[in-house]
């Protein structure tokens, strides 16, 4: 049994009855939509046409929101419906990043995620969803796709159907008949700062301006794009500076112990307190900051423990939390055990530090909605970021605490090497051909768009070039070099997190 929808755009008149009936049935607050109607226009007078598309959760068979959800607040039922349970949701917003369709929002009444759930509560008493029964045109068809005789299965079999973003591999169960492809595909739409009878929210307008600026750089003419003339508002960029900061503090935390373990392996400054105690303290302090930022970013911080107590093991948010915990245990042991025993901790420290630094690559990888974050270079980049964070922080701590020159110099050496790797990865990430239009647009936002000053100025020139020059060529420039490297890393993490969320999903 697999419930799905067919939206028949040969019949849909764009009246928004489904939108409002859904709000009424499910008591959806202002600013949020579980289903909505987008309008796009194409053509030049008098050969103009307006196309409607009814957009909502696709009840994916392979639902990224379910995979990324850390607490089983989102789940796929045996009948194919992707339902949610607000009572389990911690408000981490990762489902909003996982969904390629803009289907989720945070309900301001409960601060938990919500979306179309196929009116599962109505289904329970044998009734069709509210949007289906209100539709004047019977353009929304609900039913069991697996029952060959059902009206929906017959439509899907007989008519040419389309899906939104089938390339995402999510296996959507909302099928479109007679829709215009460009109405379903945001990358085929021109940026629109206003709509024919409504405003766009302020946050959206900022994003649109940014997107418009980089779209203007693209070779394709405007004629190829449809013009959106109405859409519902969507919360722009669910993750903000706290998530960028979490990446940054985590790089420092993971890198610090990583440096200490590497030092032990490579025997560079053996016995220096910088590696025996200070590094572990840096790791623990920044680990605490990392955890604090993660909890602070939750819409329901009171429920942070659900991650540990109601874990959904496929979620890298859960796996990451346990990796961070284990890493913390190793760091504590490093601090508590005499230096002589540190050799026992070298392997666990290296593995868990790499894990703590790198697991985010898999978490961002589960954010299937954000193509820009799906880069295979992300994992090495996070490891390199940890090298920078660890080495730079230990250069600073070492200088402050009067560590040996060997120790500080060795860290400066690591930092210089890491900066070269970082520079190379930046080039590989942003400068080469991109997987698709959305990735290219996000990259272009960084290199040529709204973030170009921050990126080129701070991340590249200050954070890599000047930092490298200061460390390698300027006598006594290690401290300033380390500071510049950390600043550059912070700005890069922030730009990367923001740019990844700046390309519209729907």
């Amino acid at each position: 049994m697999r419930y799905g929808f067919v939206i028949d755009h040969r019949r849909c008149i764009g009246c928004h009855a489904c939108t409002v009936a859904c709000k009424e049935e499910n008591q959806v607050p202002l600013g949020a939509f579980r289903t909505w109607v987008k309008y796009v226009e194409k053509g030049a007078f008098p050969h103009t046409r307006r196309y409607f598309s009814v957009l909502r959760c696709n009840h994916c068979d392979n639902a990224p929101c379910v995979a990324i959800c850390p607490t089983v607040a989102l789940y796929r039922r045996p009948d194919g419906i992707v339902d949610f349970d607000g009572a389990r949701c911690i408000g981490c917003k990762s489902c909003m990043q996982g969904c390629p369709y803009d289907a989720l929002y945070i309900d301001p009444n409960t601060n938990t995620a919500a979306k179309c759930h196929y009116c599962a509560h109505r289904l329970e008493v044998g009734l069709e969803p509210a949007c289906v029964i209100v539709c004047p045109e019977r353009a929304i068809i609900a039913g069991d796709l697996d029952a060959p005789a059902s009206p929906i299965a017959r439509l899907v079999a007989r008519e040419q159907v389309e899906m939104r973003k089938p390339e995402q591999g999510t296996r959507p169960k909302v099928f479109y008949v007679g829709a215009d492809s460009s109405a379903l595909t945001p990358s085929l739409q021109a940026p629109a700062p206003a709509y024919l009878w409504g405003q766009r929210s302020e946050g959206e307008v900022d994003l649109v301006r940014m997107a418009a600026a980089v779209q203007a750089l693209e070779p394709a003419g405007d004629g190829a794009l449809s013009r959106p003339v109405y859409d519902a508002p969507h919360a722009p960029r669910p993750w903000g500076w706290k998530v960028s900061a979490y990446l940054w503090t985590k790089s420092i935390s993971a890198g610090a112990l990583m440096m200490a373990a590497l030092d032990r392996v490579m025997q560079l400054a053996r016995g220096d307190a910088l590696f025996d105690t200070a590094a572990a303290m840096v790791a623990l302090i920044f680990l605490a900051l990392t955890m604090g930022l993660l909890v602070w970013d939750l819409k329901r911080p009171d429920r942070f423990h659900f991650v540990l107590l109601k874990p959904q093991w496929r979620s890298w948010l859960v796996r990451g939390a346990f990796i961070l915990l284990a890493y913390g245990v190793v760091a504590v042991l490093w601090l508590l055990l005499p230096a002589a025993h540190h050799r026992l901790l070298v392997v666990p420290a290296l593995v868990l530090a790499a894990g703590a630094a790198g697991y985010s690559a898999f978490l961002f990888g589960q954010a299937e909605g954000r193509d820009f974050w799906q880069s295979p270079l992300l994992l090495p980049h996070l490891i390199v970021a940890a090298l920078i964070g660890g080495a730079a922080s230990l250069v600073l701590v070492g200088t402050l605490t009067g560590a040996s020159d060997t120790a500080v110099l060795s860290m400066a050496g690591f930092l210089a090497v890491a900066l070269i790797l970082h520079g190379g990865l930046l080039f590989a990430e942003l400068g080469v051909t991109h997987a698709n239009t959305d990735v290219a647009r996000a990259a272009r936002l960084i290199t040529r768009g709204a973030y170009r000053t921050r990126f080129w100025g701070v991340s590249v020139v200050v954070g890599v070039l000047l930092a490298f020059v200061a460390i390698v060529l300027v006598p006594g420039g290690m401290v300033i070099g380390a500071l510049l490297a950390l600043a550059g890393l912070w700005v890069y993490e922030d730009v990367w997190v923001r740019a990844g969320q700046s390309v519209p999903l729907s």
Partner: protein, 919 residues
């Protein structure tokens, strides 16, 4: 099938069992009294909620679609409104405005108690009063006016009729007044005139579902009478292969769904339609037999072509000559629509035969001088194709509706109000409502008691500043009571603001010509019905509302009974007897008795249907809320009728025109001084393109389009609708935008004959170059921060009178979040409320139909440094001048027989024939 990846199951999901059989759209009617379903917010926890499902009728647009209210049995709150599956017109389905009824009922801003002003009128000071005080004061004033022979000084002015016409006709005829004023002349007067001159009935009723070709000069896939019922049937036809053509200068959603979009210069539509008629005639594609039988062609030949023999062949020849100039090429020059397209559509119409469904209601008819000839030209195509009242054709309205007779209908009064139907407009459809401020200014009368009801002339009508001047002049309007569920711009200038019920808070009987059938729908106060099901009893509906926590919201039916009773407490004026119970002699009529009587006596088939279910007719209607009186109503004109018109040797019903036939030739128009308009023709509009100097920025403004989500000024209390649509930018073509050097979002100044407004530009390929368009659904305002307007939808404005006649309005701020019982009010994320363009329009009454011709010749320029979004400047002296210019176009009564108006012509609440004499 198993999902591709094993996934974690929520504990609740594991308990799921698959439902037996398919899913249903609605709970079975047998269980409506006690229906259980799960709380949507608590889900997936299974929290049961029990409801009484009580049908009622939507009160937003005029379609009268069915609603089903879910009344929570524990809290007595309405949880939601769904469609009523047994309603024959809407069939269980609704547009966005149906479910949004919940916002209107739960609106934290609504008025719950009667208010009386304490300061100057319009100054905004109010105090709560009792209904007794209100009723006694108003009844006293009306009684005094009636006793003193001032019947013309009592006027009731309404926007949306509830119980159609009969209920209030009964009230006002009982009072002996000619006091019913409507919104019709700012709405549909020209379409009505065009149809009525053809067949005596003033509306079309297309049978879209069975059409082969649908020609719309309307936007029925998104708005209008009757949006949802018609949209259902238009798409049904389209899915079966019918072709749809839409003539509209603007790309409406409807035009976008059509097979043909014809975007003409505004006001040239009749030229296109007559060119199509010419194709049908010259290519002999028309239904000769039908035209020969049912059109008064012989009268035309006798009156206009005495040179020809009275034969149909001669008529055909006369037609070819008459319309010879309307070549497709001529139509293209006039309209800008390609001649080839016009011919293609005409031939498609010819191929559709009698299955030609057409509609015009407002659109170009309401926009242009002579717009009534557009409706007439459109109906001419229907007549030519013999598609009148056929399956898939277009019937006159009255045959597809039913108006049950109430007990005891009083005779009409012998009074004629010149304020409603002045002699300058003997053919108007109907009351010259929007000229009232000018009539009073000219000293044509005064009003002792003026009611406005779900009517907002200050905002809706053209020239609203003149309305403000009128309403604030207590010598002209001595007492003004506004019957409304919500604040409005007009209510602000009332003496009483009287809260009346929304869709689920009142009784009304509805019947609309939604398709080839006749049905009635029953609007009910669902909280009262729910409470009465639980054994409570109430004398009046407001008492049930108060018991359910809804303040003292009245229903109007009871208001009129109560008022009439107090006007004539002892029966001396002969009024009281019409408000006595038909079941309890001498006692005051209870509202359920009125409906009980009508359901028992005036609805054919209902008593039998009720008996079959073991119910009384009233109980049947309370349960189902609708009844199908007759389905598949076709060819009503052919029905045999004694004293009818003889066709094929049989006396038949025919049409309610002087000839009893379809009047291609209107002797009435000829006799009433318009001989040149006696046949379907083309009148060049007051905004015809030849009048424009485009190089100087002159353009045509189309200020009359609705949005699918809103309904005039009645939906300002619906947060879900305003969230979707809250601005009305000025549509203009990129060519014009380039000429002005502007883009979307830039400010434009739009100057009319009496002032200007400032709005943002919306640059679009969906409008003809040279034309600008602006929806009339936005631009609401209020004068104080916390009262006078719905904060969901109004901007706070400063309104200043800068001279005797000069007014300026400036927005202080737009829509803002506010604190209320509804947490959503703090979540308002939009700021714009739109721009109130109607204030800047002078009145432009069509000299024949009386329709306000909405389209404006405007000068569009870039806004200046001092101009701000939403600015309005108006000079009412200039608007009075424009009024006088248009008044000079009229050819006043008397007509033949010294009459004020042809006796046969429809008129709402027709007075006694003796009142028609202009002596």
């Amino acid at each position: 099938m198993t999902p591709p990846v094993p996934e974690p199951l929520h504990p609740v999901a594991r308990e799921l069992s698959e439902p037996d059989g398919g899913l249903a759209a609605y709970p079975p009617a047998a269980r409506w009294d006690d229906w259980e379903e799960y709380d949507p917010v608590a889900w997936p926890r299974k929290v049961k909620r029990r409801y009484s499902l009580i049908p009622t009728i939507c009160f937003n647009c005029e379609a009268a679609c069915g609603l089903l209210a879910y009344v929570d049995q524990t809290t007595l709150k309405i949880q939601k409104f769904e469609g009523n599956p047994v309603h024959p017109g809407s069939r269980g389905r609704n547009c966005a405005k149906g479910p949004a009824t919940l916002n209107q009922v739960q609106d934290a801003e609504r008025i719950l108690y009667p208010l009386r002003r304490t300061g100057a009128r319009g100054a905004g000071q109010w105090q709560r009063v009792t209904w007794d005080e209100v009723l006694d004061d108003i009844a006293g004033r009306i009684r005094k006016a009636l006793v003193e022979g001032r019947q013309k000084e009592v006027m009731y002015h309404l926007g949306r009729p509830g119980h159609e016409l009969v209920y209030l006709q009964r009230v006002f005829h009982a009072w002996g007044i000619d006091g019913h004023n409507s919104h019709t002349n700012v709405c549909s007067a020209s379409a009505r005139a065009g149809y009525a001159f053809w067949h005596g009935m003033d509306r079309p009723s297309p049978d879209h579902a069975n059409a082969r070709f649908i020609l719309l000069l309307s936007s029925h896939l998104e708005t209008g009478h009757y949006f949802n019922p018609h949209a259902q049937r238009i798409i049904e036809a389209k899915m079966r292969g019918a072709k749809v053509a839409v003539i509209d200068s603007r790309l409406s959603n409807t035009a976008s769904m059509a097979d043909y979009w014809l975007s003409p210069w505004p006001g040239t539509e009749a030229a296109i339609l007559l060119a199509m008629a010419r194709v049908l005639v010259r290519e002999r594609l028309y239904d000769r037999a039908f035209v020969e039988k049912w059109v008064n062609w012989d009268e035309y030949l006798r009156e206009e072509r005495p040179d020809l023999p009275v034969t149909f062949d001669a008529f055909h020849t006369a037609l070819e000559e008459l319309y010879d100039q309307y070549t497709p090429e001529f139509a293209e020059r006039e309209s800008g629509v390609a001649a080839a397209t016009i011919v293609e559509v005409a031939r498609a119409i010819g191929a559709a035969g009698g299955a030609l469904a057409t509609h015009i209601w407002r659109n170009t008819a309401a926009g242009n001088l002579g717009g009534w000839q557009v409706a007439r030209a459109l109906e001419w195509l229907v007549v030519l194709m013999g598609a009148v009242s056929t399956p898939g054709g277009t019937a006159p309205s009255a045959w597809n509706k039913t108006i049950p007779a109430p007990p005891m209908m009083p005779p009409p009064g012998k009074v004629w109000s010149e304020l409603l139907m002045p002699k300058e407009y003997p053919l108007a459809f109907f009351e010259m409502s929007f000229l009232l401020p000018h009539f009073l200014r000219e000293g044509r009368g005064k009003l002792a008691m003026y009611f406005t009801r779900v009517y907002n002339p200050v905002w809706t009508n053209p020239d609203g500043m003149s309305w403000i001047e009128m309403l604030t002049d207590e010598a002209k309007v001595e007492r003004h009571a506004c019957l409304t569920p919500v604040w409005s711009e007009t209510a602000w200038f009332a003496d009483y603001v009287l809260p009346m019920g929304h869709a689920s808070e009142r009784h009304d009987l509805m019947s609309q010509e939604t398709h080839a059938a006749r049905w009635i729908g029953f609007r009910q106060p669902v909280l009262r019905v729910a409470l009465e099901k639980r054994g409570k009893t109430f004398d009046l509906t407001w008492q049930a509302h108060e018991a359910a926590g809804l303040g003292q919201v009245w229903e109007e039916d009871e208001f009129w009974i109560e008022l009439s009773w107090r006007i004539d407490p002892d029966g001396a004026l002969g009024i009281r007897k019409y408000f006595e119970s038909p079941y309890r002699a001498g006692e005051k009529l209870r509202i359920e008795e009125l409906y009980r009587w009508m359901f028992e006596h005036s609805v054919p088939g209902l008593p039998e249907a009720a008996r079959a279910e073991g119910l009384t007719p009233l109980a049947y209607m309370r349960k189902y809320g609708a009844f199908l009186v007759e389905d598949n109503v076709y060819r009503t004109h052919e029905q045999p009728e004694a004293n009818g018109v003889v066709v094929d040797g049989v006396a038949r019903r025919g049409f309610p025109t002087p000839s009893r036939k379809l009047e291609f030739f209107s002797k009435t128009l000829k006799d009433w001084k318009w001989p040149e308009q006696a046949v379907p023709g083309y009148i060049r509009s007051h905004v015809h393109w030849s009048q424009l100097d485009r190089a100087r920025g002159e353009m045509v403004l189309l200020p009359t389009f609705r949005l699918p989500t809103l309904i005039h000024t009645r939906s300002g209390n619906a947060k879900w609708l305003y969230e979707i649509s809250h601005s009305n930018p000025l549509w203009l073509h990129p060519e014009d935008a380039d000429r002005l050097g502007i883009g979307t979002g830039d400010l434009l100044k739009v100057a009319t004959a009496i002032g200007f407004f400032v709005d943002k530009a919306w640059v679009t390929e969906s409008i003809r170059p040279g034309v600008v368009a602006c929806s009339h659904h936005l631009g609401r305002w209020r004068l104080t921060e916390t009262a006078g307007g719905e904060r969901w939808s109004t901007a706070l404005v400063d309104l200043t009178r800068e001279g005797a006649s000069s007014w300026r309005m400036r927005q202080v701020h737009g829509v803002r979040p506010f604190a209320s019982d509804d947490p959503d009010s703090e979540r308002i994320w939009w700021e714009e409320a739109g721009v109130h363009q109607n204030l800047t329009f002078p009145v432009q009454p069509d000299p024949i139909s009386g329709q306000h011709c909405w389209h404006q010749k405007v000068t569009v320029t870039r806004a200046g440094a001092d101009d701000r979004y939403g600015d309005i400047v108006v000079d009412t002296e200039k608007s009075f001048e424009v009024y006088r210019q248009w008044l000079a176009l009229t050819r006043p009564a008397p007509g033949p027989g010294g009459l004020r108006r042809p006796l046969w012509l429809p008129r709402a609440f027709k007075p006694d024939a003796s009142a028609y004499r202009l002596d």
